[in-house]
């Protein structure tokens, strides 16, 4: 059920991304996932008395890189600020974040919905520290106690706030998808929503169509997948529409999305809003970002997913679907282009090489790689050059496509290149007309019934003969050639 046309939906997304720095935002503790509780901490990230933070340069670099990719203005100076509230996962009971002078502002992200493109504004991007993890002995409501693990406390976090320009739950999901793809491409975040490296909160309000004033906004938390973002916002839009229809006032509050039950429920009233008591962090000095550094980062920006996808279509002539698959990670896209380049441009009118490479990657190579490791392709024994080598052997008829698939698996297992394997195992396609003719003759002699069947109109009998020839050659006969020679001989009998 869609939101009644009389209401316009206004959505803004706040995304928190854990940055892929080796150490935390303000101390040297490691950021690796999955260690025993409270074993990856130090006095700084545990907020002990007397400790002081020191800014991680790479986190700032990642922030700048992301800001530039979203065409934000990187502020010449920025500061950190303390944001105060009480919660046991936050050791100092304030979070070091940024407030009045964030790292960057005023950017945008282009998204594709319903075949059209929309530009969604990004209001600000800033850096802050992550909080620890809470485990409840039971559920949050029933637990008599909770347990705190500070391993995650202090990990570098980048917060981006979009302008409230998303007009539907679909757009919100599309924004998040596109956003995540950029972050992965930039190699600043691994985008793992299940593990919490990428988290999303949404703000949604409704207003009667035509009204310029925004309605009361509700914050929705606990959105840990694209699907949940969309479902939660669809539910909430419906809920608010129903309330407004009934003449009720929307309460400004925070609601939690209960994925299992399919509804949002009130968490706490934002009318008793947090008073964060922001003030500039006195333990950290301002950052005056050197223009040369920013320019250096800009120059090193990789081509972004959307642009790369479009270029694959125009430059290589592959369909949009292929382009989408091939650009899902920078490593994969690089691999594709390297393979195409290694093979060389198609001679004459054979403009099909890039498509062939694409087919092989999509159907054979991706199946052989672990799904969650975007860099695994860099470790594959089938390098771009080797893939090109294999495809060359098919193109010039040395081996058939079918044999090539076996060779591919052998390349994976042995680490050898295609030519070596073909040579060693004698897989070279038999394309010697004389030799094949002899084999065809003997097969025909041994299968008179099949020849009879064929003459009486059973086309399938020819297939059986082809099969016999293939068997006799250990699968190495060039199928097209076999077909032609057999046709020829059959027509003469």
């Amino acid at each position: 059920m869609t939101t009644p046309e009389r209401y316009e939906v206004v959505i803004g997304l706040e995304v928190h991304a854990q940055l892929r720095t080796k150490s935390k935002m303000f101390c040297g503790c490691t950021t690796t996932f999955g260690a025993p509780p409270n074993s990856q901490t130090c006095p700084v990230c545990q907020g002990m008395p007397g400790v002081l933070p020191v800014v991680n340069r790479r986190a700032v670099e990642f922030g700048i890189r992301t800001a530039l990719a979203f065409s934000c203005r990187v502020n010449p100076a920025c500061r950190f600020a303390r944001k105060h509230y009480y919660y046991p996962d936050m050791p100092k009971n304030y979070q070091i974040s940024q407030y009045e002078e964030p790292l960057a502002e005023d950017g945008f992200l282009e998204i594709e919905v319903d075949g059209g493109a929309r530009t969604i504004g990004i209001q600000r991007l800033h850096l802050e520290e992550d909080v620890g993890k809470l485990l409840h002995e039971g559920t949050l409501e029933t637990a008599q106690a909770s347990l705190v693990d500070f391993n995650r406390s202090g990990v570098a976090l980048m917060e981006t706030v979009s302008r409230p320009e998303l007009r539907s739950p679909e757009e919100a999901a599309a924004y998040l998808r596109a956003f995540r793809a950029v972050l992965i491409f930039l190699e600043v975040c691994d985008g793992n929503m299940e593990e919490g490296s990428l988290r999303c909160d949404a703000n949604i309000s409704l207003r009667p169509r035509g009204q310029t004033e925004l309605g009361t906004k509700v914050e929705i938390k606990n959105l840990n997948s694209f699907r949940n973002v969309q479902r939660a916002l669809e539910f909430e839009a419906r809920r608010q529409a129903q309330a407004l229809d009934a003449g009720e006032r929307i309460v400004q509050e925070t609601r939690l999305w209960e994925a299992d039950r399919g509804y949002t429920r009130s968490m706490r009233s934002k009318e008793f809003a947090h008073d964060y008591r922001y003030f500039p962090e006195p333990d950290l000095v301002p950052l005056r970002l050197d223009r040369a550094w920013v320019d250096e980062i800009r120059a090193a920006l990789p081509e972004l997913p959307r642009a790369r996808r479009q270029r694959f279509v125009t430059q290589y002539g592959v369909p949009a679907y292929d382009a989408e698959v091939l650009t899902q990670s920078r490593a994969l896209a690089d691999y594709y282009e390297a393979s195409v380049q290694a093979w060389g441009s198609s001679p004459g009118n054979r403009g099909d090489r890039p498509k062939t490479v694409s087919n092989w990657i999509m159907s054979e190579l991706l199946a052989a790689l672990p799904g969650d490791d975007e860099l695994a392709i860099q470790r594959s024994p089938i390098t771009p050059a080797r893939l090109a080598g294999l495809l060359r052997l098919i193109e010039d008829g040395t081996i058939s496509g079918k044999i090539a698939k076996d060779v591919f698996q052998k390349m994976l297992a042995s680490g050898d290149d295609a030519a070596a394997i073909v040579g060693r195992e004698g897989l070279t396609q038999v394309a010697d007309e004389a030799a094949l003719s002899q084999i065809i003759v003997s097969v025909m002699a041994a299968n008179p019934k099949a020849i009879d069947d064929f003459k009486r109109g059973k086309k399938a009998a020819k297939g059986a003969l082809v099969g016999q020839v293939m068997k006799a050659t250990g699968g190495k006969a060039n199928p097209a050639l076999v077909n032609r020679l057999l046709e020829d001989k059959l027509s003469k009998t």
Partner: protein, 95 residues
């Protein structure tokens, strides 16, 4: 000036459980102090930037290098309520 509601609100913000008598006393003392601090209003600070650091230092950053973490026991050693490898806290009621 601060009224009773303000004092209660501030005490809640900063997690201080004060008795009725303490709240009243606090209100009086804070008002007395604030009356003196109000003299700052008389100072002309038009166009004067606030100081947030007494040093003219900028751009202090560290390289992204991992340093050894502290052992679990060292970090949990002062815990008022330790539960195995965790800090334990009483139940959290969302306001």
């Amino acid at each position: 000036m601060i009224d009773r509601k303000d004092v209660e609100h501030v005490a809640r913000l900063t997690r201080l459980a004060l008795t009725e008598a303490e709240l009243e006393r606090m209100r009086e003392q804070l008002n007395s102090i604030l009356a003196h601090l109000d003299t700052l209003r008389l100072v002309d600070t038009t166009g004067v930037e606030p100081t947030s650091h007494a040093v003219d230092v900028v751009n202090v950053m560290r390289e992204d290098e991992v340093e050894p973490c502290f052992p679990q026991d060292a970090m949990l050693g002062n815990a008022p309520d330790r539960s195995g490898e965790f800090f334990r806290v009483p139940r959290i009621i969302e306001e």
